[in-house]
């Protein structure tokens, strides 16, 4: 509730509700973006208020849906763009980019579970 109040116009705080952030990443995991890192990604993405998208070429999928992420078939070396819209877009993109660029899924589960 507090954050909603802060975001309202006229209280002197910057309006960050519609802020946008994006970052290009390259998949480092030799196994590619398979279900386990995908699951870590969607769980973390779902913690943010911002919408999260992953863009691959001309395709754009919901970063909070594991089914969507699985459709990317992103192997090692694939370049993707993470895009977030919302009040916590900047931090969301930073945290989520780190997940995609981690080489080992065991490292991810240690850090994020």
């Amino acid at each position: 509730m507090l954050s909603v109040k802060l975001l309202k116009k006229g209280n002197g705080m910057p309006n960050t509700e519609n802020s946008k952030a994006s970052r290009c990443v390259e998949i480092k995991n030799p196994q590619g973006l398979h279900l386990r890192p995908g699951e870590v990604f969607t769980r973390k993405a779902s913690e943010f208020a911002s919408t999260v998208s992953i863009i691959s070429g001309d395709r754009c999928v919901d970063g909070k849906s594991l089914l969507d992420i699985a459709t990317l078939g992103a192997t090692q070396g694939t370049k993707l763009e993470i895009e977030a819209h919302g009040p916590d877009a900047e931090v969301a993109v930073k945290v989520l980019a780190d997940i995609l660029e981690t080489k080992s899924v065991d490292e991810l589960t240690k850090d994020h579970n």
Binding site: H34, L35, R36, D68, A70, T71, G73, T75, Q76, T109
Partner: protein
């Protein structure tokens, strides 16, 4: 990668008897033994490997779909099968929903790309409500095989 490239037609199970997670994995793996895709001597270690993978995080990816899988040295190429549970199975999916549609995959340890391409194909088709609905309604293995062939011919994904 198309469905017909990795789904073993005679291992398809349109009406899974199993009601639990491990039982589904067992029933579908044994279907691949019966179809000759896995040697009987490798069945138990394969079931164990798939179950162990599930312990790391459910492969129930949402919308009533699960993709239990493992890498296993006993297969020379990616093999898979399809199972449908009319009642649905508690698979500890991400969205908490019961799972009706199962795609079980076993891939050689050194072919991560094939696994990803199969996963990509399965998930793309399963985003289509019509495909999911028809799959859940399929009564025979032949119906499912025909549906997979239609999906391979891009009749569901635009």
């Amino acid at each position: 990668m198309k469905f017909v490239d990795f789904v073993s037609s005679t291992a398809i199970r349109p009406n899974l008897a199993a009601g639990g997670k491990e039982d589904v994995i067992r029933e579908m793996t044994l279907a691949l033994v019966e179809s000759g895709d896995i040697q009987e001597s490798e069945a138990e270690s394969t079931i164990k490997a798939i179950t162990k993978r599930e312990e790391l995080g459910s492969t129930g990816i949402g919308r009533g779909v699960a993709v239990p899988h493992t890498k296993h040295p006993s297969v020379g190429r990616l093999v898979g099968t399809v199972g449908v549970s009319v009642e649905g199975v508690d698979f500890k999916s991400l969205d908490g929903e019961k799972v009706n549609l199962f795609f079980l995959l076993i891939s050689p340890p050194d072919r991560p790309g094939d696994h990803l391409r199969a996963l990509e194909n399965i998930s793309r088709q399963l985003r289509d409500d019509t495909f999911c609905k028809f799959l859940k309604q399929s009564k025979t293995a032949e119906d499912i095989w025909q549906l997979l062939e239609e999906a391979d011919n891009n009749q569901f994904v635009s």
